[in-house]
Structure formats: C-alpha cells, structure tokens
C-alpha cells in the first residue's frame, strides 16, 4: 500500500499514465532480475547428480557414488574408540609369550581362564567320542550330530544345565528345565532377552561400572538404551535403591521408558558379590516400578572369597515377589573356560518370554555336536564336583598372589569375591585425578609397562583411576613380571 500511494502522486502528474505503467513494470523487472540472481543455475540434464535419480528418492542421505549400508548398521562399522577394544587390539600386535616374546604386551584385559584346562582335557580324552556320536543303542550315528534338532536345546541338555547351575549355586535353588532356553553363548543370550523384554527406544538401568561388551550386546541391533546407575567406591560399587530411584526418575523426565534393570552378579568388572539384601531391594524396586530384572550370573562358579553367592532365582522364590519379572543369563564361557563352545542359557520365570526366546533360537542355536558333549560333561556329577573345588581353589590362590603383589606396590583393590579379575585402584599413579589422567595412565601401561588393563572409563565408572585386571590366564611366574613392570610407573 505504501508503494502505491506515493505512485499516485507520480501518476497524477504529467505523463502520468505512461509513467504510472512504466514504473511498476520497471519495479517488477528489477524484482525478477534480483530473484533470478539468487537462484542456482539450472544444471545440464545429462549431469543430473545421482541423488535425484528416482531410485534414490527414498534413500535419504545417499551420496553420489557411495553404496550405503543401513543407518542402524553404520555405528557398528565405526572402529570402537573404547579403550576396552583398543587394548585388546594392541595386545594382538605384540602378544607376550614367556618364552618367545618376553617383551610383549601382557593381556590382563580379557576375562578368560586357563586354570583348569588340564582337568577338562583329561575328561575329554577319557570320554572320547562317546559323547558326540553314539546313539542310545551304542552305535555310531552321524545323524545324532549332523541333523536338525530343536533350536532351543534337547530336554536332556536343559536338564543337564539345570542340574549344573543348581550345583554351582550351592544347591540352594533348583532350576526348572522348562524355563530354560539354550543359546549359542552369553552374547546372544543377553541380546535375545533384550529383544523380548524391551521395544526399540526403551531402556535398561545398569549399575556402573559395567562390562563394556553390554554396549555391543544390547545396543547393536535391539535399539535398547542403557541408562547408567552410578555406584561409588564408598559403597564398594554396590548399587543402592536411591541411585536406582534417581536414575529411573531422570529417565522418566527425559521421556525414556525403562523396561528393566540389568546387572551382573558376581559383578563385572568389580567382582563383588551382591548380598541377599541388595538382591531383595533390587527386586522390590523392580516390582514397584513394574519392570524386569535381568541378572547376568555368568561368573557364578568363579567365586573365591568368603562371601556366599546367592542367585536372583533364590530371592525370586520368596513369596512376596512376582517371579515372572526375573530372568537370568548364564554361559559356560567363564566358569567352564570354554567360550569357544558357544553355549549359554536364558532362564526366565515368565512363560511367554521362554516361548518367545525359544522361537528366536533359530538365529543362534548351539551346534549339535557341542550339545552332546555338554550333556555328558554337565551330567558327570563326580567330575563337576571335582572341577568346582579345583576351580575355586585355583582362582583363590591366583587372586591372593595377584592382589598381594599389588599391595606390595601400595596399590589397593576393591573388595571382591568372584569373577576372573580384580578391580584395582591405580589412582595414586594418575598425574591428574580425571578421566584424561586415567586414559593417559592406560596408554602408559600399554606402551611403557606393556600391560593391557581395562580402564574404568571403558566400564563407565564415575571415579577415575580404577582398572580391571584379569588374572586367571596367568601363570604364577607371570605375576612378578607384571608387578615389576607396574613398579616402573610408580
């Protein structure tokens, strides 16, 4: 309007009609010029960038010439920046060998045990192929190992596992084979359980510090988030209800739906054994919030302290709780030192979870020859009792040696009673009491001391300076070597 009113004055003057039509035309012309100048030049149709070809219309973000993997797979492709994996890779480049490579990097970052291989080897050679090949009639029958069998495991195998688990947990709880699903290892067990209990975008509360592998196991494909519940050295890193409450409420404020609590017991990386009271509190909390409880008990037999291991299954049996929210993960990788066999367990009190997990076993079932060996092995009660006694004693001895060695250097460890590692407080060696200081120490340990220990940062520990050191793949003579190397940094 403002433009038109002054124009009236011009139009009403001499030559008004001519000027009155000329000026708007000129203005319009200049406007068009201006807009054209802002527009990008039209491209030659023969050079249309591929992103505008129809096949890519729906493939958002596809760049010229590159083939995309799915956006959910992309983060998986990135090399991990977690010190947990970095350390493992570095050892591969220069692995210590007490004969051929005495200057190599000593592996303290992998929770594996070689302490009882002699017993296992002896059992294997004495029990030969009977366990793999023979049918009940005593004939060799290839179909016993080669053909399809139920993906979730023969009843026989589940019975053997149930009995074994009960035995290693002190015989105080019995496991029902019909609540059990056998998986190809602990890794798929936790993933399948996550798929059953939570939708994409939901979350699990998880006390810190926690096993770095959960980041992969839970997050790679399920889309479930992990919400840390921070624990402190003052509580010996034991989770408290107040911490759980706080984390739960914060999650709710952010709009995250919490589906469950996931924790390991004996815990990894700290190695502490949760008391009956703590387990009770966790279950009570879960009941109040109507969420699941997943107890990863993969180190149940790797106990060496005086504290008694109590399974969540035992606590769940107490009447006041709705058992159907309790689920347990187990595997033979740690206690029986046979991670290569790939055998794990999902144990759930919830019938629908068991049914769903069974159906998912087609993606990850135990190879049949392995099943047959395990049926024999786990059913051999005499051997299992012998193994348990030796295993616990040997871990205890090694633990004492290792912790004593560190004590001599003035380096304390958290109180622990289980697991294949100890949780070491190296804060006295930090140049600065911070995550940065811790990562610098991690690097020094790798490059100067040539030791791979997992820093607390990798385990989401809130206090800097803590390192997980696995000692069950060490020979006694390796321990002084390690202590000497650490002494260099003191």
């Amino acid at each position: 309007m403002r433009l038109i009113v002054p124009l009236r004055g011009v139009i009403q003057g001499r030559g008004g009609l001519f000027v009155g039509s000329l000026i708007p035309c000129c203005l319009f012309y200049f406007l068009q010029l201006y807009l054209k100048g802002r527009r990008p030049p039209p491209s030659d149709p023969t050079e249309l960038p591929r992103t505008s070809s129809r096949s890519n219309l729906f493939s958002r973000g596809n760049s010229i010439g590159r083939v995309r993997v799915s956006s959910r797979a992309l983060p998986v492709a990135k090399p991990s920046d977690s010190p947990y994996y970095i350390g493992l890779e570095r050892v591969k480049t220069d692995p210590y060998d007490r004969i051929t490579n005495t200057d190599g990097i000593i592996q303290l970052g992998l929770a594996e045990s070689t302490l009882c291989f002699d017993l296992l080897q002896r059992w294997m050679s004495e029990n030969l192929m009977d366990s793999i090949m023979q049918s009940d009639a005593g004939e060799f029958d290839i179909s016993n190992i080669a053909m399809y069998k139920p993906f979730e495991g023969l009843l026989e195998l589940r019975v053997a596992f149930a009995d074994f688990m009960s035995r290693i947990m002190g015989g105080k709880v019995s496991f029902d084979p019909s609540n059990m699903v056998i998986t190809a290892g602990g890794t798929p067990a936790i993933e399948v359980l996550a798929f059953c209990l939570a939708d994409h975008g939901n979350a699990f509360l998880i006390p810190t510090p926690y096993y770095p592998g959960f980041e992969r196991d839970i997050k790679f494909r399920t889309g479930v988030e992990l919400i840390p519940v921070h624990c402190r050295s003052s509580d010996n890193f034991t989770v408290t209800v107040s911490a759980l409450e706080q984390a739960f409420n914060q999650a709710r404020k952010r709009g995250s739906k919490v589906s469950g609590i996931l924790f390991s017991n004996p815990s990894n990386p700290v190695g502490n054994i949760l008391s009956r009271e703590t387990l009770h509190d966790i279950l009570k909390f879960a009941q109040e919030k109507n969420i699941h409880v997943i107890s990863d008990e993969i180190f149940a037999d790797s106990v060496y302290g005086d504290k008694e291991f109590v399974s969540m299954a035992e606590v769940a049996y107490s009447e006041e709780f709705d058992k159907s929210r309790v689920h347990i993960i187990y595997a033979l990788s740690k206690d029986l030192s046979i991670p290569g066999f790939r055998a794990g367990v999902i144990y759930s009190f919830h019938e629908d979870v068991v049914n769903a997990a069974k159906k998912l076993m087609r993606f990850t079932s135990v190879s049949v020859p392995v099943r047959r060996i395990l049926i024999s092995l786990l059913s051999d009660v005499r051997f299992i009792e012998e193994y348990m006694t030796a295993h616990r004693q040997r871990i205890r001895d090694k633990h004492i040696r290792f912790v004593e060695g560190l004590k001599q250097l003035g380096i304390p460890c958290a109180v622990s009673g289980g697991g294949l590692y100890c949780w070491v407080d190296m804060s006295s060696l930090l140049t600065s009491y911070s995550e940065k200081g811790e990562l610098e120490l991690f690097e020094k340990l790798l490059t100067v001391a040539k030791i791979n220990a997992t820093p607390g940062t990798a385990c989401y520990c809130i206090e800097p300076g803590w390192f997980r050191c696995c000692f069950t793949a060490l020979a006694d003579e390796d321990i002084p070597v390690i202590m000497d190397r650490i002494r260099q940094l003191c």
Partner: protein, 495 residues
C-alpha cells in the same frame, strides 16, 4: 501382595512387541502339516501308517560317507584322544574373525562347488548362526525398519520370519509365472519395484535363491546378468542365497553370481553379497554353519561384529576345516551326493510320471515342485488348502503347499525327497498311487461312494495305537526346525 488381576494386567505391558507379536510366523495354518507329522511320524516298522515327512529340505543321502570320515579322523575333533592336545587353544577361541583355517577351507569348498571357475577370498568370509542367522544379519546391515527387499516368488517361507521379524524389513514379492517356468523377468522386477515405491517402501535390495527353493531350478547366465544389471542400475543390493549350490545333478550347471560379476563391466561390487551354509550341500544342518560372503568391505566389517550373536563353535570350525581340507573326501562326497540326488529324483519323477502327475523340470535342490493344478476343484488357494489337507491327513504325506511359498498360482506343491531312505520313498509313491486311483474312482458313479467313505473313515481311524522306539526320530529331540509343537510327554517315556 499384588492381586492376580493386577498381575495379569501388568503382564500384558511387560513384553516387547517382538516377543508378543506374530513375527515368528508359527501361527500360520501351514503348521498343521508339521503337527500332523509330529503327532504321527512315519516309521517303516513301528508306524507304517504314519505321516511321511516330505516338507523338510534336508540332505541325508550321504550320511554314510560323513560317518566314515569322522570315524577315520578322530584328530579332527578336540574331544578325542588324538585331538585333545588342541583342546585348550580351541576351547578358549572366540574371536569373531573365526579360525583362519576354517575360513580358508570354506572358501576352497565354495570354489569347488562352483567348479573352480571363481575365487573366494577367505577374509571376506563371515560366520553366522546357520543361513537363518546369515540372512537376518545381512538384513540388519543393509536395511532399516520399513525398508524393503524384492523377493521373486515362489520363495522359502522362512524368509518371512528370518528377514522381517527382528529387523522390521518388508519383503516385496516379484511375481513369477508358471507360464514361463517361473522365470524372473526384468518386467516383473520393475513392476514390483514400482509397487514398492508407490507403497512408500524404500527398496534396498533384491534377494534371490539360486538354485531356487522351492523350484529346484538354476538361473542361467543371461538371467543372472540381467539381475545384476537391474540391481546395479537401481543401486540396490543383490543378495544371492546359494545354499543349494552343490545340489545340482543331471545336466544342469550351477552358475554363481560370483562368476557373473566378473563378466560385467562397471559392476558395482559393493552391492553384491552371498549367503551360504553347509546345511544343505554337506547335510550338516545341526552344525549351524552359516556364511556371509560380501564384496562390500564395510558389510564384512559390520557383519563380522554381529557374528558374535551366532558364532560357529570353535571346535566345529576346526572339524569343518579339517574335513573340507581333505580334497579327496570333498570330491568324493560332492560326486556321490549328486549321483544319489539324481537317482532319488529320478525315482520320484518316474513314479509321478507313471501316475500322470506333472512336475517342474529342474535338476537341483532337495525337492521337487509338483503340479497338482488339475486336481483342484477350483483354481483358488482355498481349494489348494483343501487338497493339501487331504494329502496331509488322508494320504499322510506332509508336502508343502505353494501358497505358503507365495506362489502366484494355486495347485503347486513342494515335495522333499532327500531326507528319507529308498523304502520310505517307495511307500510315499505307493500312497500317491492309491490316492490318485481313489480320485479316479470318485469320478465314477455314486454306487462306489459309500465304499470310498468307509475306506476314508478307516484311514482316519487307524493309528490310535501308539508305538515307541528308541530310534532317533522318536526321542524328544527329533523334530523340524520349523515346528512349533512341543514334544509329547508320552514319547519321552521310553527313554
């Protein structure tokens, strides 16, 4: 104390959609066939009127050769006296790269089954929990929830579950017609592609099975080239399921996509992926050896990390490495397997020819695509289901109806023949003969009908007597990977 009613209400909210939904596919009516088999499985002596399993594509024809090799090579297993010295190294091994000797042996075996016309790089071999796990992992790698894969019909029903359940990916059928032998045409591909776009499904790949399940046909070079060209042009992935590669017999020759891409200039190899397994070619489904072979470095990297969810057990890797490195054994095994498949195929087709029953000409796979269109009352899938029910419950053969494979046309049935011995095949053929002659009778005057009805009744009423055996088929363990039916407690009583 939480009240029962509240508990139930709470219960409903506690499971994920994946767990509480139908993605597992086991509520399909087609499981009726499995159930019928499980409730009354055939045994030549103990249960001669039982249902014969012709719905499971298993290769059991060369079990004797496998047995012989395993007995003669105890050092291949770490659980024998001869092999136990390797125990500690192998039992502790859980690196997702897999044992190098395993990957090398599998690569060599894959070359052999393609007549050494193409080379495979062991570093591109990624393990998975059977071909089932392989397909799912590939879907996770290449597609987001809501994306789609084109799949030519008819296709293996397991894809509906394996590719969709946890991944959220859609399958878009590419219709192939019996009129041209179910060939995959570019027109059909384009058509399906357009339909997907119109339904707002971003197409990320084309999945094809070659040799085909359920057809048993192999793709010729021209067709393969056209598929590669199509996917290249659309810049979508090509996933070639080649798990039946070594099951070709007779004149037909298997050509792998790996060969064809060598012949195409400007082929974008980042789009090419092969799914393989030892379950069919070697008859070792229980070993759970699935393989992803991708020409895309990034996919190899990602799939390898995901293989932790379904690693092949290290002792299985070692056994397979030793077995597949024994070239004489492998050559003999493949040769014999083809001969026996050919013989069994001939037995079945000769029998069907004699009865005037048609079948699709094919020389691969562990099954036959049988044509019963002329036995349908009407050319509808309802009619096909009706006929199928009669075959399952009356003729007592668990065959798989074409509808379950998303066949465009009713009346086709997949019949597996490599999971049984010769006598069982004879029995199956005899039953088909009886059935077809009964059908002929039915078209005769009504006077014959009461006798027919009586015969039928008798058929249904037989087999109330339960018999138990300690043969492997009857321990609670033996049932198919597809069956949702839990074992009957009665069957366990014997053991």
């Amino acid at each position: 104390m939480v009240s029962l009613a509240t508990e139930k209400k709470q219960d409903l909210n506690l499971l994920s959609r994946i767990a509480s939904g139908d993605g597992h596919g086991e509520n399909s009516s087609y499981f009726e066939g499995w159930k019928a088999y499980e409730e009354n499985p055939f045994h030549p002596i103990d249960r001669p009127d039982g249902v014969i399993q012709m719905g499971l594509a298993e290769n059991q024809l060369c079990g004797d050769l496998m047995r012989k090799w395993v007995i003669e090579h105890p050092e291949a297993s770490i659980c024998t006296e001869q092999g136990v010295n390797q125990f500690s190294d192998i039992a502790i091994f859980q690196d997702y790269h897999g044992l190098p000797e395993f990957r090398q042996a599998v690569a060599k075996f894959m070359e052999k089954t393609r007549n050494n016309r193409v080379k495979f790089d062991p570093d591109r071999i990624v393990m998975s929990g059977g071909a089932t796990g392989a397909h799912e992992t590939v879907a996770f790698c290449l597609a987001n929830p809501g994306d789609g894969f084109l799949v030519p019909t008819p296709y293996y029903p397991g894809f509906d579950r394996d590719l969709r359940w946890r991944t959220g990916v859609n399958l878009v059928p590419v219709t192939c017609h019996s009129s041209d032998g179910f060939k995959i045409t570019v027109e059909a591909l384009e058509d399906a592609y357009e339909k997907a776009l119109l339904s707002n499904i971003p197409v990320k790949g084309l999945l094809m099975t070659n040799p085909s399940n359920p057809l048993g046909t192999t793709l010729d070079r021209e067709c393969l080239k056209s598929l590669v060209n199509f996917t290249n042009e659309k810049r979508i992935h090509l996933i070639a399921d080649e798990i039946y590669a070594a099951t070709t017999f007779g004149q037909s020759e298997f050509i792998s996509v790996a060969e064809v891409i060598e012949e195409i200039e400007d082929c974008n190899r980042d789009l090419i992926h092969i799914v393989y397994s030892l379950s069919k070619d070697m008859g070792l489904p229980g070993f759970r050896v699935g393989i992803i072979y991708s020409y895309n470095d990034r996919v190899v990297q990602i799939a390898r990390k995901m293989s932790s969810f379904g690693l092949v057990s290290s002792q299985t890797q070692r056994l397979i490495a030793k077995m597949l490195s024994d070239e004489d054994f492998v050559d003999e095994f493949i040769r014999e397997s083809k001969l026996r498949l050919a013989a069994r195929h001939k037995e079945l087709t000769t029998g069907l020819d004699g009865l005037g029953i048609g079948w699709l000409k094919a020389e691969a796979g562990l099954f036959l695509w049988m044509d019963l269109r002329n036995l349908l009352k009407t050319a509808t899938f309802d009619s096909e289901t009706e006929l199928w029910r009669v075959i399952v419950h009356q003729v007592k053969l668990n065959v798989s109806p074409g509808g379950s494979f998303h066949c465009h046309e009713p009346g086709w049935f997949r019949v597996c023949f490599a999971n049984m011995d010769h006598k069982t095949m004879e029995t199956a053929l005899e039953r088909i003969r009886v059935f077809t002659s009964q059908l002929e009778e039915e078209t005769k005057p009504v006077a014959a009908a009461p006798m027919m009805a009586k015969k039928k009744k008798k058929c249904w009423q037989s087999n109330l007597r339960l018999s138990f055996s300690d043969k492997r088929r009857f321990d609670d363990g033996f049932f198919s990977p597809h069956s949702p039916v839990p074992p009957s407690p009665l069957v366990r009583a014997q053991t």
